[in-house]
């Protein structure tokens, strides 16, 4: 069993490093994108081997769903921008100073220049070698597992990772939600969204699949959220699954995005941080410290925060996929 596990680890790691290498060596960006999705899949297996099913769940939701879709839609956007420039649409900005070949670069990266090879290789090798040597000389440390274990009773939940995320280190998680929100604010500040590139997909297959998948995704999302209090799962994973379902819906009717009204959408994306902050400030006022809970109320409050966070994360991920801000936001 042990020998087999070692073999599995070795093959897996070789695969991960190999895929990453080929991904970064690709001249064709679509190939790089597919390889990156595969990289995410193998990474999820690595997290499983490191006894981190929570991370594997998140990686599955992100690697298989969100990142792949994001990369592909980005490549298509780049391609359609290039095509518009070639066809000489009005309103095109002045031509690129780097010359006629620049057009090619949208989805194709020429092999790197030879002159950077030696310095880059040396630098990367030195950094890698130093890191490996350092890591090999580290003694095993217990980490904080015993401390967390000793305080689980007071955390309000039964799953240690959730306890750390939403109770012991709730501040980090709050800021994580804030970062998701800031990324969206940044994407929105770049301008209104334009049409999502999409071509017609005739036939009953796609709508049929969606009719099956979207409800299942919603149920799974809720299940993962609920499971988070006692088993791997939680707000982010659930939000990512629901977000992926939303992305599917957007892909089903890319030309007919619902005219999202500004105010409810704003409230939706801020719900996670807002609820979290209110609970945190209440804790401060009630004497449990900022972001602290009364023990008896810890579980319901954590669930409340997680539900709001799931909603916000899902909405934000869909909005990040659509990229620019909806017209309703400027009204």
């Amino acid at each position: 069993m042990n020998g087999l596990l070692v073999l599995f680890d070795l093959v897996l790691l070789a695969g991960i490093v190999g895929v990453a290498w080929r991904c970064l060596a690709s001249t064709d960006l679509f190939r790089a994108a597919v390889l990156f999705v595969t990289f995410g899949l193998l990474l999820a297996l690595a997290w499983v081997r490191l006894e981190a099913p929570d991370i594997a769940l998140a990686e599955a939701a992100i690697g298989a769903g969100i990142t792949g879709a994001l990369l592909l839609v980005t490549l298509e956007r780049l391609r359609s921008i290039m095509a518009e420039r070639r066809s000489g649409r009005p309103h095109t900005p002045p031509p690129d100073p780097t010359g006629p070949h620049a057009l090619l670069r949208a989805l194709h990266d020429p092999p790197p220049e030879r002159r950077t090879f030696i310095p880059a290789l040396t630098f990367a090798l030195v950094v890698g070698a130093l890191l490996v040597t350092t890591l090999w000389h580290q003694p095993p440390s217990m980490g904080l597992e015993p401390v967390v274990d000793a305080h689980m009773d007071a955390s309000g939940v039964d799953h240690p990772v959730t306890a750390v995320l939403l109770n012991f280190r709730a501040y980090d998680t709050f800021l994580e939600l804030a970062i998701v929100l800031i990324a969206l604010l940044g994407a929105w500040s770049l301008g209104r969204h334009d049409l999502i590139p999409a071509r017609p997909a005739p036939g009953p297959i796609l709508p049929g699949t969606l009719r099956l998948l979207v409800p299942v995704a919603i149920v799974t999302g809720v299940y993962v959220l609920w499971a988070g209090s006692h088993a791997p799962g939680g707000a982010f994973q659930a939000g990512a699954i629901l977000g992926a379902a939303g992305i599917l819906l957007v892909l089903a009717r890319p030309r007919q995005l619902p005219m999202a009204p500004g105010v409810p959408l704003r409230l939706g994306i801020t719900a996670g941080v807002a609820v979290f902050l209110l609970v945190g400030l209440y804790g401060l006022a009630a004497g449990h410290g900022f972001l602290g809970y009364d023990r008896a109320w810890a579980y319901p409050l954590i669930i409340l925060i997680e539900v709001a966070a799931t909603l916000s994360i899902a909405l934000t991920l869909v909005a990040l996929f659509v990229a620019g801000r909806p017209a309703g936001d400027d009204a």
């Binding site: 899949l41 769940l57 071509r199």
Partner: protein, 108 residues
Amino acid sequence: MNVFYLSAALFLLGTILLGLVRVLRGPGSGDRMLAAQLFGTTGVTILLLLSLALEESALMDVALVFALLAVVAAVAFVRQHGLPEPPDTPIHSQQAESAEPEEPNDDR
């Protein structure tokens, strides 16, 4: 029995690594996407096997999420890849014509 599951998982991991050749070679994007689709399925199977081999029932949920979301990248790909349509690409023009140009599939 665990050893058996683990060997099966290892075998499947090997098929993924072999299948990578198709992603690298292409030649078309469709081939690459198909290979990625196969990897998704294989990954789900590996997770199921590992959940038995490592006796970690939560991996079943991971496999479920994988199965659910494998379709997102595929749909994103087929919906979008190859845009915009260059004027002369339709090879079998009858079929292209019969396909309605705008959103025929709205399930309303």
